[in-house]
């Protein structure tokens, strides 16, 4: 029974399944990039989707070639992607927070605000446009204080 199986065909089918699932994940990431409302959500979608998709595609490639040297190179690329993609996403997200890219209006920012309050970083970041409007209505003095603090920060 076992001798009748064509192992090359099995190998091809397994690698094909891996590559097709990887392509599917990258397609999902791309659709997420187009459809999601906010920069931060888009960034998370891209990072996770493209890392998983690339890993699956390259793993399928390693299975297809069936050689140790090829598998080593493929594992090198996968490891490099796994290390660098989160780091790049973190750095870009940090820069975006510092550049005051607006959040989505439904994002839950309570913990983020608490953190900023604890670290005395409130002047660095401004929140939603909606939040700003509420603040404007409530206290104009507070905004002047904020402006003064911002000038200090600029120096």
């Amino acid at each position: 029974m076992l001798e009748n199986i064509d192992w090359i065909l099995v190998k091809d089918i397994i690698s094909c399944v891996f590559i097709l699932s990887g392509v599917f994940f990258i397609l999902v990431a791309t659709i997420g990039l187009l459809r999601l409302p906010d920069f931060y959500i888009r960034m998370s979608a891209i990072t996770k989707g493209s890392t998983l998709g690339l890993g699956l595609i390259l793993f399928g490639l390693g299975i297809y070639f069936n050689q140790p040297s090829m598998l080593l190179k493929v594992l090198a690329v996968i490891t490099f992607t796994l290390i660098t993609a989160p780091v790049a996403a973190h750095v870009i997200g940090r820069t975006a927070v510092q550049n005051k890219i607006p959040f989505w209006e439904y994002t839950n920012l309570k913990e983020f605000k608490k953190y900023l309050h604890r670290e005395h970083l409130e002047e660095v970041v401004n929140y939603d446009k909606y939040e700003e409007q509420v603040l404007k209505k409530k206290k104009k003095e507070k905004k002047e204080k904020k402006a003064a603090a911002r000038e200090k920060f600029g120096e």
Partner: protein, 78 residues
């Protein structure tokens, strides 16, 4: 490969309409990932093993590019 090319096209759309600069940087990241995937599948089609080295170098340079763009953004706002 065809689907990945379609992904590349959609990413280019986001690259064109992206409202902010970090959006464009992440779109660039995804473009690099797409190109690495295309190279991998092309390697499987042709059976030429040397092309996977291109993918290694490309992943390195994509990381370097996005990091340097983010660093540059941080510099010009301060």
């Amino acid at each position: 490969m065809v689907v990945l090319s379609f992904c590349l096209l959609l990413t280019a759309v986001r690259f064109a309409i992206g409202p902010t600069l970090p959006d464009r940087i992440t779109a660039f990241d995804l473009i690099v990932a797409d190109v690495i995937g295309i190279i991998a599948i092309y390697t499987e089609f042709t059976g030429n093993e040397d092309l996977i080295d291109v993918a290694i170098i490309l992943s390195l340079f994509g990381f370097l590019g996005s990091i340097s763009f983010a660093y540059y953004l941080m510099k010009i706002t301060k």
